[in-house]
């Protein structure tokens, strides 16, 4: 016969289990929030702007400017960590809790579709619409999901090809030309080309640039996987062959952005694919050996300019916000020419307004802007899909295996297609 103590223990465990079951049953679902999206659209009042760490101190001065002009609709700045994954998880937590204190949120371009599909972002239609005519089309694509605009592009970023202009007179315009220039690198005893090939998000960026640049694509127009094509295989084969021939140094398989930049600044690379931030550092770093001997160009593709992917951020209005009218005006403020210029001059962040790329004030401060414009105009965003984490994993794992030579390109692309199908069907 059980003693009293054992009975009490059993009862408390059972009670705990029952409480647990009940409480999890109470957790909120993520179904369509059309009702919430419409609420508060005329309402004005103070709002909060949520963004990751403001390393270049651009946000605070902007918010001060807005607050002076709108004393009744003050914006408070909520600063998150500087790690992209933590920013993502923080937003997910607050959206799931239906936090009405997150009004305008800064989302990375690859999360916009995911948040839109979960019903957390207000569609920018009707009263919430913004003017996209002056914006670069590729940036608008990243903020569009299911043919609806869900966020306002805020800053952009594209790929640049850094090259040694003392060794190569004119930069190559196609991939084949670049590979032919590798003989110059061999004569000079340095590596030819490097990008970002470690197994992380940078590999997805480089792999999709290679695939898109050869005319292939990863997802089709309807969002279903379409990577098992001859063009995509050709694009990936370019990278694999370059590794095999030694045109990409073997150690580049461990490169993230910083390792490539260090190698280029040490004079060990002829060509480097990287982001615009390298420009200032290569020009001004004390240890940079290429201060006056490097130039920039758009990245090469199959028959001409390649298809850079897009970095950058969009600003979106949470459906749980209580003051959407103010949030909408704040979005337009973020996209105004003045603000975009400030992003560029103060934070070296590429603007999303096309005309500004030829503005003399900006090009004086950021000489790479005209080249960057060419990159972004022919850019293809990374797959715009609500299943982005699973999709990027599928691309990374299979490209990495192909680059290491563990799989043939045909096999890798076939597996990538299968993994993408699994990813976009069930999110598993």
């Amino acid at each position: 016969m059980k003693t009293t103590r054992a009975k009490v223990r059993l009862a408390s465990v059972a009670g705990l289990a029952a409480v647990g079951l009940v409480l999890t049953g109470c957790s909120a679902g993520g179904a369509a929030n059309t009702g919430e999206a419409k609420s508060g659209q005329d309402s004005r009042g103070p709002i909060t702007y949520v963004q990751g760490k403001d390393n270049s101190n651009v946000v605070r001065p902007l918010i001060e400017k807005w607050n002076k002009a709108h004393p009744d609709e003050k914006v408070t700045f909520k600063e998150q960590s500087d790690q992209a994954d933590q920013q993502h998880d923080d937003l997910v937590q607050h959206f799931q809790a239906k936090d009405e204190n997150y009004d305008v949120v800064d989302v990375d371009v690859v999360w916009t579709a995911e948040f839109a599909a979960k019903g957390w972002l207000t569609p920018l239609t009707g009263d919430m619409a913004i003017d996209t005519s002056k914006l670069l089309p590729a940036t608008v694509k990243t903020a569009t999901y299911n043919d609806t605009l869900y966020a306002a592009p805020q800053t952009s970023d594209g790929a640049l090809l850094y090259y040694r202009k003392d060794l190569v007179k004119t930069p190559p315009t196609t991939w084949d030309e670049m590979m032919q220039d590798c003989s110059i690198a061999k004569d000079a005893g340095i590596g030819c080309y490097a990008g970002q090939f470690a197994k992380y998000e940078g590999l997805t960026v480089n792999a999709s640039e290679a695939i898109n640049g050869s005319g292939g694509s990863i997802l089709g127009k309807d969002g279903s996987p379409d990577v098992d094509t001859a063009d995509a295989k050709a694009g990936l084969q370019n990278l694999v062959d370059a590794f095999k021939d030694g045109n990409i140094p073997a150690e580049a398989i461990t490169y993230q952005e910083e390792q490539g930049r260090t190698a280029f600044e040490d004079g060990k690379l002829l060509f480097l694919r990287n982001w615009p931030y390298v420009y200032n550092l290569a020009k001004t770093d004390g240890s940079s050996k290429v201060k006056d001997t490097f130039g920039i160009a758009p990245i090469p593709g199959k028959d001409g300019t390649g298809a850079s992917t897009l970095g950058g951020h969009n600003a979106a209005i949470s459906v749980y916000s209580k003051h959407k009218a103010t949030a909408h005006d704040f979005l337009e403020f973020l996209e105004s020419d003045e603000t975009q210029k400030f992003f560029a001059t103060q934070g070296s962040l590429a603007p999303v307004v096309g005309d500004l790329y030829t503005d003399s004030e900006l090009t004086a401060k950021l000489p790479y802007l005209p080249t960057l414009l060419k990159s972004i105009e022919s850019a293809e965003p990374r797959p715009v899909t609500p299943f982005y984490p699973a999709v990027t994993k599928a691309i990374q794992d299979n490209s990495y295996a192909a680059l290491k030579g563990s799989k043939s390109v045909d096999e890798a692309v076939k597996d990538m297609q299968a993994a993408l199908t699994t990813a976009t069907n069930s999110g598993n």
Partner: protein, 340 residues
């Protein structure tokens, strides 16, 4: 009539009698009630912070993740899943097909293998090096306090910082390659990346083992060694026959803790290699898989973390039941001769 043949008066049979109730310092009913009041809040807090998430995770693991409604393009609640999530991980089924390479489901058994490999190798290395360090720290010599503090420094550094530190050391153009003169791709070759994680982990946690073993060593009285010396035991014999058996309880506890920690290893491989290496997953551990899965679907991640929990529980059970790691018994009991 002889007094000796008299049948003595009935003496109560000691075996059948209940021992008299003693008023000692032990628990009686009133003490019991006070104990409940005082411990109650802590238990309640632990139940909320530990019990509820565990139960919630198990419940969630029987739900399907949100699926996309193709018509609206929005996510809708998945329904009841039964054991689909578990079959997904254990049987590597993604829907109706085997999980293709590049999806997380395909990495389950590889991660399991990696996790166990790391556990076995790091704990074995740390035990050997830990015992050696503990013996050194136990000796009496000038500067012993400094040596003890220096040995503990790796343990004091946060794991994420350690991982970044070793990331730079293991860089293709880093210090280690410079010193050994070879161009080893530590973060990308299959076995090099595994050994990179093992080296970094051993460097970081050997001090923990050394500390626990030192505690065991310090309880061994000097007389036992002297007796051994007098009996003619050599240094090696003294180590095998005196030191090791006497530190076995502390050693088993240290090994148990390390095994449990190593099975949950996350931040070191995640920051050092990103789980990559080899064809992409040579250093992915179960915890890395869980965190990756969280971003793709909570319910599937709950199933995976429940599986991880059960695996670790099974390992701990084996340790305590069969290998004699007893976290409650003290060495004092051992010295009193009450335990073998």
């Amino acid at each position: 009539m002889s007094a000796a043949t008299e049948i003595p008066a009935a003496v109560p049979d000691p075996a059948g009698m209940e021992p008299p109730k003693r008023r000692t310092g032990g628990l009686n009913a009133e003490h019991g009630r006070w104990a409940v009041y005082l411990i109650g809040p802590t238990i309640a807090l632990l139940a909320i912070v530990i019990g509820y998430p565990v139960v919630s995770a198990v419940v969630q693991s029987f739900q399907l993740d949100q699926g996309l409604d193709k018509a609206t393009g929005l996510f809708v609640q998945g329904g009841f899943a039964g054991v689909t999530n578990y079959v997904h991980w254990l049987g590597q089924q993604c829907g109706t097909t085997t999980c293709p390479p590049g999806s997380l489901g395909a990495q389950f058994w590889v991660s399991m293998g990696n996790t166990f490999f790391f556990t076995v190798v790091t704990v074995a290395l740390e035990t050997v090096i830990g015992v050696w360090m503990a013996i050194i720290m136990n000796r009496d010599f000038r500067g012993r306090a400094l040596v003890r503090a220096a040995i503990l420094v790796p343990w004091a550094i946060p794991t994420a910082v350690t991982a970044k530190l070793w990331y730079f050391i293991f860089d293709a153009n880093g210090v280690l390659n410079h010193v050994i003169g070879q161009q080893v791709l530590w973060t990308s070759s299959e076995w090099a990346s595994r050994w990179a994680v093992i080296i970094a982990d051993t460097w970081k946690t050997t001090p923990f083992m050394a500390l626990l073993i030192l505690a065991g060593l310090q309880l061994i009285p000097e007389e036992v060694y002297e007796a051994g010396k007098m009996d003619g035991a050599s240094t090696v014999q003294r180590f095998w026959n005196i030191t090791l058996p006497l530190i076995k309880p502390a050693l088993m506890v240290a090994v148990l803790f390390r095994v449990l920690d190593a099975l949950r290893m996350y931040d070191l491989p995640a920051i050092l290699t990103g789980g990559g290496g080899g064809s992409g997953n040579a250093t992915t551990t179960l915890s890395i898989l869980v965190v990756d899965q969280i971003r793709q679907g909570f319910n599937s991640a709950s199933a995976l973390s429940t599986i991880t929990f059960l695996v670790i529980f099974a390992v701990a059970f084996v340790f305590v039941r069969f290998l004699g790691a007893n976290v409650v018994q003290t060495q004092a009991a051992q010295q009193k001769g009450e335990l073998k």
